[in-house]
Symmetry: C2
Subunit: 226 residues, 2 copies
Amino acid sequence: MIIVWMKEGITMDQNKIPQATAKRLPLYYRFLNNLNQQGKKRVSSKELSEAVKVDSATIRRDFSYFGALGKKGYGYNVEYLLGFFRKTLDQDETTEVALIGVGNLGTAFLHYNFMKNNNIQIQMAFDADPEKVGTDIGDVPIYHIDELEEKLNGIKVAILTIPAHETDQVTDRLVEQGIDGILNFTPARITVPNHIRVHHIDLAVELQALVYFLKHYPLQVDQADK
Amino acid sequence: MIIVWMKEGITMDQNKIPQATAKRLPLYYRFLNNLNQQGKKRVSSKELSEAVKVDSATIRRDFSYFGALGKKGYGYNVEYLLGFFRKTLDQDETTEVALIGVGNLGTAFLHYNFMKNNNIQIQMAFDADPEKVGTDIGDVPIYHIDELEEKLNGIKVAILTIPAHETDQVTDRLVEQGIDGILNFTPARITVPNHIRVHHIDLAVELQALVYFLKHYPLQVDQADK
DNA sequence: ATATTATTGTGAATTTAGTCACGACTTCCA
DNA sequence: TGGAAGTCGTGACTAAATTCACAATAATAT
Ligand SMILES: NC(=O)c1ccc[n+]([C@@H]2O[C@H](COP(=O)([O-])OP(=O)(O)OC[C@H]3O[C@@H](n4cnc5c(N)ncnc54)[C@H](O)[C@@H]3O)[C@@H](O)[C@H]2O)c1
Ligand SMILES: NC(=O)c1ccc[n+]([C@@H]2O[C@H](COP(=O)([O-])OP(=O)(O)OC[C@H]3O[C@@H](n4cnc5c(N)ncnc54)[C@H](O)[C@@H]3O)[C@@H](O)[C@H]2O)c1
């Protein structure tokens, strides 16, 4: 077995962009979009910092990976920066997504459908329940999961909101169809070939972790908490 | 203005537990619970690693912050480890939570209500819509947001699933009532006094970040991807 | 018994992320 | 025009997290 490793971040474009930075980009983008809509022309790392709650040095550092986007003594030009990020985040082309599992969570996502500030659209949904199949939710058609192979049509990103015990089976079929990325809301940790990227969002874990932090990590006490 | 800083992680119990470790604890706990229910008696860091997708050295390191929980050459005793984590994660006492905003997401959470493997329970919900007030969802009563002060009754943790533009106003009221922690699903970054812990889960950002990674961070290509 | 195999716990090394602090440059006002 | 104020970009530092790699030890088989 020959394995070719392309370590992350040293390939393709010149992306040496740290992962931590990459995760913050959509946040910056959204906020810049707001500013722009408000007609704001310039913004400093300090202002941004207060709004997105990221240290201003971190913001400057993040931006600097893309070159010198600002002007010393001035700040950043909102429109320019926004345009830059639009290109960087590929906001011009829409990414099509499939959602699997139209239950409580899945339905919520379909109603919301991420199209507010961004380039991502749920194109179709699948469910195993015949009751749900055939209806639309917010213009998104719901197909039966048996039609996955037939309908998926080259979609590369999937959101998984099915019961945990169905996860492996469905994942295998998605992999078979050439999926590239999965946003997994089930508590199951899935196994996929390593060219596929999976992000887990484990809501129960998030809540438990918050509670754990509250009990065990007392925060700063500011005696003049105004 | 006098500020007393208690830096995180050097206070109270002997917790020098790194944050990254703390965030993984609920995950470990859940998986150990599964194992135990399956009647499994022992488990190695390698097995755990495959199941939860965390490097086995990281798992051993994580556990080691709590002392020597395993046996060399053997692994970990599932029951013992589980018992240990139950205590550590305070799984015996239930944490009461309030949910604010019974919309798409909020309703999904109410139906789910986290009580599966853990000690967290949504006790009550609030909404501004009179249509929703008065009904119950899965035994959780829905009150009008105007009753917040009256009903909240010392609850220390809140889940926020309201529209972004309502966030500051509602947050201030929660703070006023002495909330300790907020799990914020709105895209708004909220400002709170620094003894209050806020975790953001920004679903749109997560999805955008996944797409960004797919386009810009080609993963390892395994030529014998079996 | 003894050898073989499995697996921990942890120092040390490495990698990744975050922050400080300041020189360089811009803007803006008097 | 000159100087004060503001802000970036970044080298150097610090901190946090991960991973390597191996001695120590336990379980098991023969
Ligand atoms: N709802 C929440 O608040 C919440 C919180 C944390 C985690 N989760 C996790 O998210 C997932 C979904 O949760 P939910 O509350 O929406 O569950 P749900 O039961 O409401 O929805 C699951 C949906 O998947 C469908 N389904 C079942 N098998 C399928 C298959 N093979 N192919 C396609 N569809 C199939 C069902 O018909 C159902 O509509 C679960 O894994 C759950 O553990 C949910
Ligand atoms: N639904 C999703 O998939 C999704 C995805 C990403 C982010 N979000 C964010 O999560 C939040 C909730 O989303 P949603 O889709 O559930 O929205 P929603 O509009 O369906 O629900 C919001 C609910 O909050 C209630 N509300 C409004 N003002 C209130 C107040 N002052 N006090 C109490 N309740 C109030 C409304 O009556 C409504 O029931 C939003 O901020 C949204 O941006 C949602």
